[in-house]
């Protein structure tokens, strides 16, 4: 029997990026906030300290910062005719755990969606005609525009100390920045990181072909920086251990490095780590949630925590699972296409390439992801899709660096995987490879969704979430086209050899590809097409706000975190300025 606690103002479920932002903004507005986190606390000075943080085995292979599959996982299948089986150890994607969440180990690529992405269905209909969008493609417009989000994108830049170069300041195009991006009111808070040599060579080749290269926007401070919460960040040390690892210099932005130092001083904030929120308590008649049910993993005791506002800010899978398990909203029914919770699951369709330059010395272990050079000439709104047979696109990135010995060795295709020849080739190419990526969009399809698994259960006895996903014809055609265009640039770089690495036909849960998952609790303009409204407020419970990429109607050709952070700030602003004065639905159906 759960012990009932005294009511609090706000319960935040999941203390990653979005949870950290909401806790900071709502305590600044005067509310008492309790942050629930299933994993441990993460304190950079102790947990991310040198020399132990430079441990490739611990962080990149044994996945020290990732969610514990033994407690909770998801099941997976490619299509609904199959039996889904549990992901027994993470592979394709790596949800994080502990304070800071997945934000502790991200690579820091900090992007905004293009203005036309926010009106995707309308944009495609207007440009190519309504009939060109397949019936199975369940994409939709976001109920919020780029212009509305811009001030919050800007604010999130200033939370993170992002390093980059603007390409569009208030409509004025600036060469050397991303000339395809939506208008920005301000430039990035910090100067771009220096390009890696591989990135620089890519930039020259891309420019020679008429494309528009620029430094990847990187969510780390290129110089010491004090953010809008008064938190000091160090300068990036170009250590080469960024992705899957945390930052010992507190230069890479995460809620742990940019928000928690301020929150730890905040008397209105209480952090409860190692607490497993199992359910949101829902009063369907009143259309509100009354609090959360959680188990304290340190005592085994179950508690009911009444709360005036609940912020659901776990990873995409946990957000969707929590809504399904708590019985809030109508589950998506694949057979009929009706229902919304679990609908429009989207992955990120990345396809890589490698090129080899025996005459260049690329010191592959040096450098941050911020050394990448990118072009945005092949994203959704950047080029004409007439007659191509697909929609969508993505940016291309090139870099050398950030390649530690276990994960960063690149050898040409056909090289043996072991033995003396393998050794010779490994040594021969280690200093001479450049890696590329195409950050492809995934446009929602009626066959890709999440629901409850009928067989497998988590440590608390709840059914696991079941993911049904495969790459669609549209996205495969998009990805092949991206690789063709990328190949043209690679050829112009003049490598001794190169290889394009197209995606396999079926999505596979191993090996690692991308942690960019989206959808499941999507935003909509009315209760018929969204789980949440434009302010991330549940259509079924006005005091429930759902954060993160689970609210994206589809995945665009950009990394999700920039938009995720901006949306959290936008939602917090509306709660502060409107909802707190007059609690109730912020959009009327």
């Amino acid at each position: 029997m759960a012990t009932k606690l005294k009511e609090i103002d706000v319960a935040v479920v999941g203390m990653g990026w979005a949870g950290g932002i909401m806790a900071r903004e709502l305590t600044l507005a005067g509310l008492n906030v309790v942050g629930f986190e299933r994993g441990p606390d993460r304190r950079p000075a102790e947990d991310f300290a040198m020399p132990g943080i430079r441990d490739e085995l611990k962080y990149q292979q044994r996945l020290e910062l990732m969610a514990d599959n033994s407690i909770d996982t998801i099941t997976f299948r490619n299509q609904s005719a199959q039996m889904a089986l549990p992901i027994r150890r993470w592979g394709a994607f790596l949800p994080g755990e502990g304070v800071g969440g997945t934000g502790n180990h991200w690579g820091g690529a900090h992007w905004r969606n293009h203005p036309d992405d926010f009106r995707l269905r309308s944009y495609l209909q207007q440009r190519y005609g309504a009939k060109t969008i397949p019936d199975t493609m369940t994409i939709q417009d976001w109920p919020v525009s780029y212009d509305e989000l811009e001030p919050f994108y800007d604010r999130f830049d200033k939370v993170c100390g992002v390093s980059g170069k603007a390409g569009n300041l208030k409509g004025r195009k600036i060469a050397g920045g991303n000339v395809f991006e939506g208008p920005r009111v301000n430039d990035y808070p910090n100067k771009p990181m220096p390009a890696s040599e591989g990135g620089a060579v890519f930039g020259v080749a891309a420019k020679s072909l008429g494309y528009h290269p620029f430094p990847v926007p990187f969510s780390a401070a290129s110089a010491p920086y004090k953010n809008i919460y008064g938190v000091a960040m160090g300068a990036c040390q170009e250590c080469g251990f960024c992705t899957r690892t945390a930052c010992e210099a507190s230069a890479k932005a995460s809620s742990v490095t940019t928000i928690m130092p301020a929150l730890r001083q905040e008397p209105k904030f209480e952090l409860r780590t190692r607490t497993f929120v199992s359910k949101l308590l829902y009063d369907k008649t009143a259309k509100r949630v009354t609090g959360v049910l959680y188990t304290d993993l340190k005592t085994g005791q179950e508690y009911e925590q009444p709360a005036n506002i609940v912020v659901l800010s776990a990873f995409v899978f946990s957000n969707t699972h929590m809504m399904l398990y708590s019985g809030i909203g109508e589950p998506y029914d694949h057979a009929t296409g009706k229902g919304l919770v679990g609908k429009n699951y989207c992955y990120q369709f990345e396809a890589p390439a490698a090129a080899f330059f025996p005459n260049k010395e690329l010191n592959p272990y040096m450098g941050s992801p911020g050394g990448g050079v990118v072009i945005d000439d092949f994203n959704n709104a950047s080029f004409d899709h007439t007659g191509l047979g697909f929609f969508g696109g993505g940016y291309f990135a090139a870099s050398s660096g950030g390649s530690p010995p276990m994960n960063g060795r690149s050898v040409p295709e056909g090289t043996p995987a072991w033995g003396s020849d393998w050794k010779r080739e490994t040594v021969k190419w280690y200093y001479h490879s450049v890696h590329f990526n195409t950050q492809g969009s995934v446009y929602a399809h009626r066959d890709n969704y999440m629901d409850m698994d009928p067989t497998y259960r988590d440590a608390l006895g709840r059914p696991l979430l079941r993911l049904t996903y495969n790459g669609t014809d549209n996205d495969h055609a998009m990805s092949r086209y991206m690789l063709t265009k990328l190949e043209g640039i690679i050829k112009a770089m003049g490598p001794a050899r190169y290889e394009m690495r197209p995606r396999p036909k079926n999505f596979t849960i191993v090996p690692y590809q991308s942690t960019h998952n989206a959808g499941g609790t999507i935003m909509g303009s009315d209760p018929g097409n969204g789980v949440v409204n434009r302010y991330l407020q549940s259509w079924d419970a006005h005091n429930l706000f759902i954060m993160g990429a689970s609210t994206f109607p589809q995945q665009h050709g950009y990394n999700p975190t920039g938009t995720l952070g901006a949306l959290a700030l936008w939602s917090a602003d509306k709660i502060k300025n409107t909802y707190m004065k007059n609690p109730g639905p912020l959009v009327h159906a």
Binding site: D55, N69, R77, N78
Partner: protein
């Protein structure tokens, strides 16, 4: 088994393991040097059986042969690394979802066995040696170098059919843990003397290059590799 038979077993197996090499050295060197070799610490094992030590010594020496680029896998401590990993929380299946029911599934659905890494490798060694005895008349560690290469290739290509174990899956995981042992920080028992880092030209720690990136643009940076222990 007493101490001598274990060493004898390894030597008889022809495994180029550190202990076998030490034993061979002691037979051909002067008494004073032999005494020094004897004084070197005897390799001790947390979980691996003698059969497994011989097996991993043989596989790691075949995957990472001794040549002008590096010492052999066993000389670099790969079997020690595997022993410690399998004795660790990882080996015991920590943070792995292990509940049933069990189904083979599709390759896209990933690893679906109930076995922990420790049990998986134990079963794999048994299955490989059973197949090796049937095919070559000897356990894997007693095969001639050319036969070892041939046996591993057959497993890698899925041609070897084990009676009740997936030979290809076992090969993939064996290769992965062998490479981890070769390339990881030496604190885990492998990569002795930072041999693989020297081979690659990977400088290890402290890895703070903000002041070196421009200076070494398109110019090779050379530094004596340093490990976590060097900074502790």
């Amino acid at each position: 088994m007493a101490k001598i038979p274990r060493r004898g077993f390894l030597a008889g197996a022809g495994a180029a393991s550190a202990s076998a090499a030490a034993l061979a050295a002691s037979l051909t060197t002067k008494p004073a040097e032999a005494a020094a070799a004897d004084a070197a610490p005897v390799e001790t094992w947390l979980v691996l059986t003698a059969e497994e030590v011989a097996f991993f010594s043989a596989t790691s020496d075949t995957m990472i042969p001794k040549d002008e680029l590096s010492p052999s896998g066993s000389e670099c401590g790969v079997p020690t690394f595997i022993d410690r990993q399998l004795a660790s929380a990882f080996g015991a299946g920590a943070r792995m979802y292990r509940a049933g029911p069990y189904h083979q599934g599709t390759p896209e659905q990933g690893y679906q066995l109930p076995l922990t890494p420790r049990d998986f490798f134990a079963a794999g060694v048994e299955a490989t040696n059973a197949w090796s005895r049937k095919t070559y008349g000897k356990t894997f560690d007693r095969l001639a170098p050319e036969q070892r290469i041939q046996a591993l290739k057959e497993m890698e290509e899925g041609k070897a059919k084990f009676q009740d174990f997936d030979a290809k899956l076992f090969f993939q995981r064996l290769l992965a843990i062998t490479m981890e042992g070769f390339f990881s920080d030496p604190i885990y028992g492998g990569n002795r003397n930072k041999a693989s880092w020297r081979m690659l030209g990977f400088p290890g720690l402290p890895a703070t290059y903000a002041d070196k990136l421009e200076q070494y643009r398109n110019k090779r940076y050379v530094a004596e590799p340093q490990s976590i222990a060097d900074f502790s």
